[in-house]
Amino acid sequence: MGWALIRGWAILVYIFMFLPVAVVVLLSFNASQFGSFPMTGFSFRWFVELANNDAILRAFRTSLILGLLTALISTTLGVLASLALVRYTVPGTNAISTLLIAPILVPEVVLAVALLLFLNFLGINKSFTLLLFGHVIFTLPFVILVVQARLVSIRRDVEEAAMSLGASPMETFFQITLPLMLPAVLAGGLFAFTISFDDITGTLFWKPGGVETVPTQIFAMLRNSISPEINALGTVMIVMTVGLPLLGAAIARRISTTSGT
């Protein structure tokens, strides 16, 4: 009896989480001129319009470049820091860990204001550089958390075996450690990319006028009314943000099975 109640409640929670998303996907195929009910027929026309909308394509390109660069820098910094924390006993580990995850603990609005004002003071105005710095700093803690959690499970003795067989530390890193770490690195990078691609809170503070990322473009379009194009764009974003991590997880599993860990 109690369990049935819990299960029923859980199902309602699942519906609550998925219903709005399902409605976005459903409406994006609506043939009607307005981005709303009733459904008047099935159509791909909004996706076609999307593909012909220059502003949206530009926003997509900006988001993509920003996300990739963020992932690259954030993952590099994050992997190095995680290695230090997992592999070495550093004095003051607790303080360092807290400092490394500090960007999560500070509300993003505050981080956005501080970074904007400080870099402006240094002569760096609202620009792509500012956006990149901002995205790196708030994705970094997530990368470190994800990578660290996975690094712990890599056994040290494999590296020691390589070294004892005459490999130099460099060779050991590139031929043993890095391949073993690859799933962790990919997971970290993917996480950074997704968070960057999705960000709007900081981005609205940092972006120069005229430059839009996909979320800020959607936000700007919302000011008018909800057009079917937004729903189509939403569907594309849903496919990307859900599909990419799943694909990444599959690749990571593939790599880890072939490398035998």
Binding site: V13, G78, L105, P107, V109, F118, F219, I238
Partner: protein
């Protein structure tokens, strides 16, 4: 250099890029806006450096700011409580389900990966004048005219709950999943009813997860300005909206600095209380 000395230096070489980034892009900027908050913005747009308490006086004594701060804390508290009430049973269901827990958890985490702005705006499709609910109610004849259900405090909370619920579920799940189920069985065999063993064994053991989820929900809710802009009405501004207004619209950066730091201080106190009693480790478990 000796081998030991080199060995001792290595972790610092690995840590230095990340630590430098955080110092230069977070710590120093925060100190900078602390200094900046004592400057003055003149009507001409120039800043006067110095030690002026005007911004702080305005931020701390103006009724307008105080009311919005209190309102923000209220909205965040309600959001957190609703997330706990919805999320705890769902997390319990996942943790104790006989089926594939990983799939069940992944399924609930999926919306977490879906764009925040898309999830927020999706409620317009449901509650808007020509949204799903109005269409359905018109069709069934319950209402004769479409009803505007959007753009009020309730829809802001709704949007926030939808955004933050996965954080709560994940944290509670991590906590529940780590509890040895033998403990419950032991309580039951000693004569406790299932409800009693839940209240006296499972619930207390899962409180750290609930607290971690609660803290995340509260802090993230209190820092939002997008949800009130998309789903709220003109009077539903939250504190972060004031910050955005001051910085982006009015370009009063010294005042914006003071307001930002006020928000940071209020939420920082919460984080510190949490850290004092539960420590950061629990929070990291749920995030990692």
């Amino acid at each position: 250099m000796s081998v030991e000395a080199r060995e001792a230096r290595q972790p610092w070489i690995l840590l230095s890029p990340a630590l430098t980034a955080i110092l230069l892009l977070l710590v120093v900027p925060l100190i900078f806006i602390l200094v900046y908050s004592f400057w003055l913005r003149t009507a001409t747009g120039a800043d006067i450096a110095g030690f002026h308490l005007d911004n702080w006086q305005e931020a701390l004594t103006d009724r307008f700011y105080r009311d919005i701060l209190l309102n923000t804390l209220k909205i965040s508290a309600i959001t957190t409580i609703v997330c706990a009430l919805m999320g705890y049973p769902a997390a319990y269901f996942i943790a104790r389900a006989r089926g594939n827990k990983a799939i069940l958890l992944l399924l609930l985490m999926l919306p977490f990966w879906i764009s925040y702005i898309i999830r927020t705006m999706s409620w317009i499709n449901i509650l808007g004048v020509s949204g799903a609910l109005n269409t359905f109610l018109l069709w069934t004849g319950v209402i004769g005219e479409p009803v505007q259900m959007l753009y009020n405090q309730t829809t802001v909370i709704l949007g926030l709950v939808h955004f933050l619920l996965p954080f709560m579920v994940l944290n509670v799940f991590v906590s529940l999943d780590g509890i040895d189920t033998n403990l419950e069985d032991a309580a039951n065999s000693l004569g406790a009813t299932r409800w009693e063993s839940f209240l006296q064994v499972t619930l207390p053991l899962s409180l750290p997860g609930l607290a971690a989820g609660g803290l995340l929900c509260f802090v993230l809710a209190a820092g939002t300005y997008i949800t009130p802009l998309v789903l709220g009405g003109p009077t539903d501004a939250m504190f972060a909206n004031l910050v955005f207004e001051a910085i982006i619209t009015q370009l009063n950066w010294p005042l914006g600095s003071a307001l930002s730091l006020m928000l940071l201080a209020v939420l920082g106190v919460l984080v510190m209380i949490y850290n004092r009693y539960l420590g950061m480790a629990q929070l990291m478990k749920g995030l990692g």
